[in-house]
Amino acid sequence: MKFIRTWLIFCAAVLLAWQSVAVSSEQIKITIGSWVFEEKQAENLDFNLTLTDAGIGIKATADVLNFAEPIGQLNNVSLSCNELQLKTQQYACLKGSLAFTHAKLASQKIQFSIKAKPETANYIVSVKGLKLAEIDISLQAELENDNWHVLLDSPTASLKNITTVLSAYLSDENIETLTSWSYEADLSIKAELSGQKKQLQYAKVNLATSTLNLSDEDGFFVAENTAMLLDLDLKLINHDWQWQTDMMIDDGQAYGEPVFLDFAESALSFSGKGVWQTDKQKLLINQAKITQQDIADLTFELESDLKIVNSLKLTTSKIDIQKLYPIWLQPFLAGTAAANLELSGITSAKFAMRDDDYQLTIDLDNIFIEDADGKFGFYELNGQTGWTNTSEPLPIELSWQGGYVYAVQLGATEVIAETKLSQLDIQETWVLPIFDGELQLNGFSLKRSDEQTQWTFNGLLTPISMESLSSAMEWPTLHGKLSGVIPEVSYKEQNIYVDGALMLKLFGGTTVIRNLQLEQPFGALPQLYADVDINTLDLETLTQTFDFGKITGKLDGQVHKLRLSDWQPVQFDAQFVTPEKDKSRRRISQKAVDNLSQIGGGASGILSRSFLRFFEDFSYQKLGLNCKLLNDTCEMSGVGEAEQGYYIVKGGGLPPRINVVGYTRRVDWPDLIERLKSVSQGPGPVIQ
């Protein structure tokens, strides 16, 4: 803007100077060594006036012309006009040329025409060939008294050259920012400007490019071959700038860490209006709309002092979440549990912020979410959710028809909650159906602080049948119930801690799971830790379930320091033994003896080859097996030390008795699993 103003003031100044010395004569030559007039100063002025057919011809040269800032000093000034028309109170030059050199504007050679009415201070100027840093500019200007109006046209301006010109008028800080960016574009600029004295009062700028390329130093913000149209209207009213703009980007690509936009696939448009409050240095966007074609509309209002956003109100249209996720959500979720989702459904959001307070509400309409690796999924998710850090509560109502987390099937549920002060609390007991039971969550509370999400609840797990659980886990069918009273479940730093105990009623006994902890449940390798205590299992029921061969009696056991990595057991300290106070009948069948000796590393079918094959079962005093698993190796032991081995079954009671002794103390864990599998699937020893 300064150039145009500079140029206009310059033209006016030259013409004023010219007007001051114009004298009617057939040929007049005036030479002045040094001349000071008004705010102007000239050195070595030469005027040549000649009378021509079309009027008066004028040629003027000066070594130096000094004007008040912002024009400053012009050197080697040469002005000519072959068609100078002088009439009463007006003159005109319909075809003139002007040449000069200037520190900032460099060497200029321009054609111009001018119509002037000095009495009313009315001048109409047209200029062609003005070059500013290789940018060709044509302009038409009308000046009347202190008012001026300019039309400017530059069909092929290079962005690089524009910034070169502008850099003369920018602060060092701005120049430093500019030099850290690389940019290139051919622009077509049309502008209409008007003002009074030095003050611009109105501007209308149309800018178009089809080749905008820019990048910051690190490549975090990049535009490639972007085609853009920009219209900007500015109006000065009471020292404030009222503005209105329309922008359309419909080709090329852009990347603003971490969002990638392909404008050829989906054009982006922005329209908005607002005010720039000069005295408060505040930007108000009263009404703005961003449209990403076929994806989303976003309307917003904003108030900012350019350093921070003071207030923002934002509303989205109804958006297809399948289109929204890959562009606007997924890039922010890399490395998290939500990094790779398959989605469908409709969502919309509202966001309001003033200073540090904000409220976000999100509407969900028939949303389907599924992790690409099948770790979790939710179907027909509906309702409204949100988040706020203010004390004014926002209601949350969410429901889904079904879902799963790993193999755990979740039924239809509804959550009624509210959010305030960066926290979410349920208002009613949340009943979450799991298989054929329910998890009743009370006091569920979720909060976020220091970028960390934490939640806690206490709950009750009503009985889940082991049939449904074992079938989901692809275990052999188990009979029994799983239930529990949970004083507290908490989630912190990606770990879930379960305080209290889960109780399993299995095989006529009770199994209690304590110290349950889940590390990074959706991480690369989820870790599960627990201590399991097993009390008075009925061996008959157990052995029948697994077709192990019949054993009667009871069994106590514990699996402590259990660790599952990626849901596979990798570490534990397990002990199983006949309870001291067991009064039940203790018998073990041939098939079970054979299977136990196989597990202990012995050969199968020994019994069937000896005279013992004539006995169907044997009495035992005690049986037990311990396995300390670490590093894929199971350190085995039994109920007592035997010669070179350990007792797995120690005979006792009424004959026939039998001892089963294990000799292998270190067993490869995968081998042991294979043996257990073959035992439970095998036909068992053949009795002849």
């Binding site: 990048s215 392909d262 490395g335 390798l525 990798v570 570490q571 590093n631």
Partner: protein, 204 residues
């Protein structure tokens, strides 16, 4: 004089007792390097740089364990006392279903990442992870794919280091294992790949 000698001898033994306990749980650096090399070779394939013979840490260990004549007996006694545990720790197990799962995921991902190591877009960090080193070397449309590959790789690498430590019964070794891997990834890196050392990027 005798008292002084006895006292100093006892002190030495006590010191050794303490230091021997330290040696006993000493991180098996050489074994860790070998284990790391095996995993790296599997993940990156044989086309990366040939493995240099390791030895620095073994030398370091033997230097540390160089006692004077009088201390040898005490060490032998203590070694005898603790030998079974020591024998188990000398090797680092790197085969478990969890480790194998992670390793095969990393191997599969490497097919996608290799071109970006080659172009310098992705580099090896000093702490055994990877990062986008030069975003400008990646086409705009591929940037987020690469970012997510890098995030997934780092997630797996962190899980791998933690799992090796846990699987060997020493979760506290995770940092040492990560540091060992950090240097072995760099040693095994192919010519032309970038790695960060002390905050500066260098090309192999």
């Amino acid at each position: 004089m005798k008292v002084v000698k006895w006292f100093s001898g006892s002190l030495t033994t006590m010191f050794l007792l303490a230091s021997c306990v330290t040696i006993n749980i000493y991180f098996p650096a050489a074994a860790a390097e070998k284990a790391a090399d095996r995993i790296i070779e599997d993940v990156w394939g044989p086309e990366t740089a040939p493995v240099e013979k390791t030895g620095s840490s073994e030398e370091q260990q033997s230097t540390l364990a160089q006692p004077n004549h009088g201390e040898k007996l005490a060490i032998q006694v203590l070694n005898w006392l603790v030998s079974p545990a020591m024998a188990a720790d000398a090797n680092l197990n790197i085969s478990s279903p969890a480790i194998n799962t992670i390793q095969s995921k990393m191997k599969k991902r490497h097919n996608q990442l290799k071109a970006f190591y080659d172009s310098g877009a992705v580099g090896l960090t000093g702490n055994g992870l990877i990062t986008v080193r030069d975003a400008k070397a990646i086409a705009l449309k591929d940037r987020n794919t690469v970012k997510s590959l890098v995030a997934d790789e780092n997630k797996d690498r962190n899980a791998l280091y933690a799992e090796i430590a846990r699987a060997n019964g020493h979760p506290e070794w995770q940092a040492d294992i990560q540091a060992t891997f950090a240097s072995r990834w760099v040693k095994n890196a192919a010519k032309g790949w970038w790695y960060n050392t002390g905050g500066t990027w260098q090309k192999k």
